[in-house]
């Protein structure tokens, strides 16, 4: 049952993703990718539990590594996306 429930979420999220991303203009595709990198850093929440659960040395080592990599994605991804988006400006006054 759990599996079905998770698959249900997956399928709906994919459809939602397609609808959302289709509307992103091509001029923002690079920030979209780096922003997506940041969001995929969500793995961090799984990594936190592995690193802090003290279930075995191996799990702690793997978890800590995952925390470090995922944090690079979260911090690096959001910061660099912000840096890029800050540059997109429209000139006032027109042509």
């Amino acid at each position: 049952m759990d599996a079905i429930y998770l698959l249900f979420i997956l399928i709906l999220s994919i459809f939602l993703g397609f609808e959302l991303i289709r509307k992103v203009p091509s001029t923002l595709h690079t920030p979209l990718m780096s922003g997506a990198n940041a969001i995929s850093g969500i793995t961090l929440v799984g990594a936190l539990v592995a690193a802090g659960a003290q279930s075995s040395t191996l799990t702690t080592v793997l978890g800590t590594g995952a925390v470090a990599f995922a944090t690079i994605n979260v911090v690096g991804g959001y910061l660099v996306t912000d840096r890029m988006l800050a540059m997109f400006k429209k000139k006032q006054g027109g042509k």
Partner: protein
């Protein structure tokens, strides 16, 4: 169970913020706010996860976050805009390895249902392929590796054998989760496959690869979400996966090639067409180009990867300013696969403070091309190659292009007379209305800017 409820509620809030963040990304004016919203969602998810009762020790978490946060912040603030494709490639890879590690850590002693084992296997597999594939992409993009397709005899056989081994290994892993040999073999196969999958792909096809790896990093997070029974990983992973797939599709369409064609047959293997392109190239000095530009009413600038290499975006902007002061209208034509990743040119021009409403997509600029007095092609080749439109035998035939040859005059800024990345000759260079300005793009542009300044 109070804390579990709280954690899950925070995941709902985080998911909502991710969705709204992506929604705001649909316009340059709101995009920055969207990114901030998404970041707040992430922060909420992370902070509330720390309340999880399973977490008893914070020392290693703190160390991991300190290292990752430091590296991430440093990289994000230091990276040059021209190096953005490499940065995204690396981040794709880190997302992959994180999912691999989370999947592996979730395995524990392997006492779990078969479905969960399968998803653990998938997160390790996709994560591993994404990791090494992205590292190779990074190497190619940053020119630490040759950008040309690397191919060897029997490549397809080797790849097929690895795929078969992965399936077999997966079955053994799920049936026999206690034996770690299958796990290690799976990791090995995944990282080898990642390398082999990306090395045969040439530099000009990188926009497709980098989009696809972006998608994989999301799918890896998704698989890890299944492995540890976590909703928010599945939602966020699916959003990223969908985003990567859409971009991949756009890139493939812009090259008129199917995804399998990009992945499995490097441009190098395309047979050279029998059609020989001959004609006389008409070179022009930058000083003479100035006189033509001075009289132009409408100027279209078509940038390509060469503009990024020459770091010429700021000089381009200077020229735009001078042309506008001179009474001309300046527009930019951006081909979807110009550069090494989706939107590469737009970011560079945004950095140089070019207004985003001047950046026209291919379909918007082509109908106007006949009214353009001068089209300036800066370091672009295949995306303006009329052979794609007119010459049926050409390897790039059918690819949609920006029709610069329809403009009254075309300036092509080019280092020398070598054929483009795809190894395809460009009949544009021999057209009557084309003038070649040889030399470093940035220097040529600076020269033009100086001429304007002197007058």
């Amino acid at each position: 169970m109070g804390s579990t409820l709280l954690v899950n509620l925070s995941y709902i809030v985080a998911s909502i913020l991710f969705i709204f963040g992506l929604k705001l990304l649909s316009h340059p004016e709101t995009a920055r706010r969207g990114n901030l919203l998404s970041a707040v969602g992430m922060l909420i998810a992370i902070v509330f996860t720390l309340f999880d009762q399973a977490i008893v020790d914070f020392k290693w978490i703190a160390i991991g976050i300190a290292i990752g946060g430091g590296v991430g912040a440093l990289a994000a603030t230091r990276v040059a805009m021209t190096a953005m494709p490499e940065m995204v490639a690396l981040l794709n890879g880190f997302g992959g390895i994180a999912s691999l590690l989370v999947g592996w850590a979730a395995l524990g002693d392997g006492s779990m249902p078969g479905f969960t084992l399968l998803t653990i296997y998938l997160s390790i597999l996709i994560g591993g392929v994404t990791f090494t594939g992205s590292l190779v992409a990074w190497g190619k993009l940053s020119e630490r590796m040759p950008g040309r397709p690397i191919q060897f005899a029997g490549q397809k056989v080797v790849n097929s054998a690895i795929l078969a081994a992965i399936v077999l290994c997966g079955v053994m892993f799920v049936v026999n989760p206690g034996a770690s040999a299958w796990l290690y073999l799976a990791i090995l196969l995944a990282v080898v496959l990642g390398v082999l999958a990306v090395i045969p792909i040439g530099g000009a096809d990188m926009p497709v690869v980098i989009s696809l790896l972006n998608s994989y990093s999301g799918l890896a997070a998704c698989a890890a979400g299944f492995a540890i029974n976590n909703n928010v990983l599945i939602v966020a992973g699916a959003l990223v996966g969908a985003s990567g797939i859409i971009l991949t599709n756009i890139m493939c369409k812009a090259m008129n090639r199917s995804l399998s064609n990009v992945l499995f047959s490097g441009f190098g293997s395309v047979k050279q067409s029998a059609i020989a392109i001959e004609g006389e190239v008409k070179p022009l000095s930058a000083s003479d180009a100035y006189y033509i530009l001075e009289a132009a009413q409408t100027v279209a600038i078509i940038p390509g990867y060469g503009m990024a290499v020459a770091q010429a975006q700021h000089t381009v902007k200077e020229l735009q300013q001078l042309l506008e002061n001179n009474g001309a209208e300046v527009i930019y034509g951006i081909h979807p696969v110009a550069g090494r990743m989706p939107g590469h040119m737009n970011v560079l021009l945004a950095e140089a403070d070019v207004s985003y409403d001047l950046l026209l997509e291919m379909d918007a600029i082509n109908p106007r091309m006949e009214t353009v007095d001068v089209a300036i092609v800066i370091g672009a080749n295949d995306v303006v190659n009329p052979a794609a439109r007119d010459m049926e035998g050409s390897p790039i035939y059918g690819m949609p292009i920006i029709n610069v040859d329809k403009a009254r005059t075309v300036f092509v800024l080019k280092r020398s007379m070598a054929s483009g990345f795809a190894g395809v000759d460009n009949p544009l260079f021999f057209k009557d209305n084309t003038r070649m300005i040889f030399g470093d793009a940035k220097e040529t542009l600076s020269h033009l800017v100086r001429e304007f300044g002197d007058s």
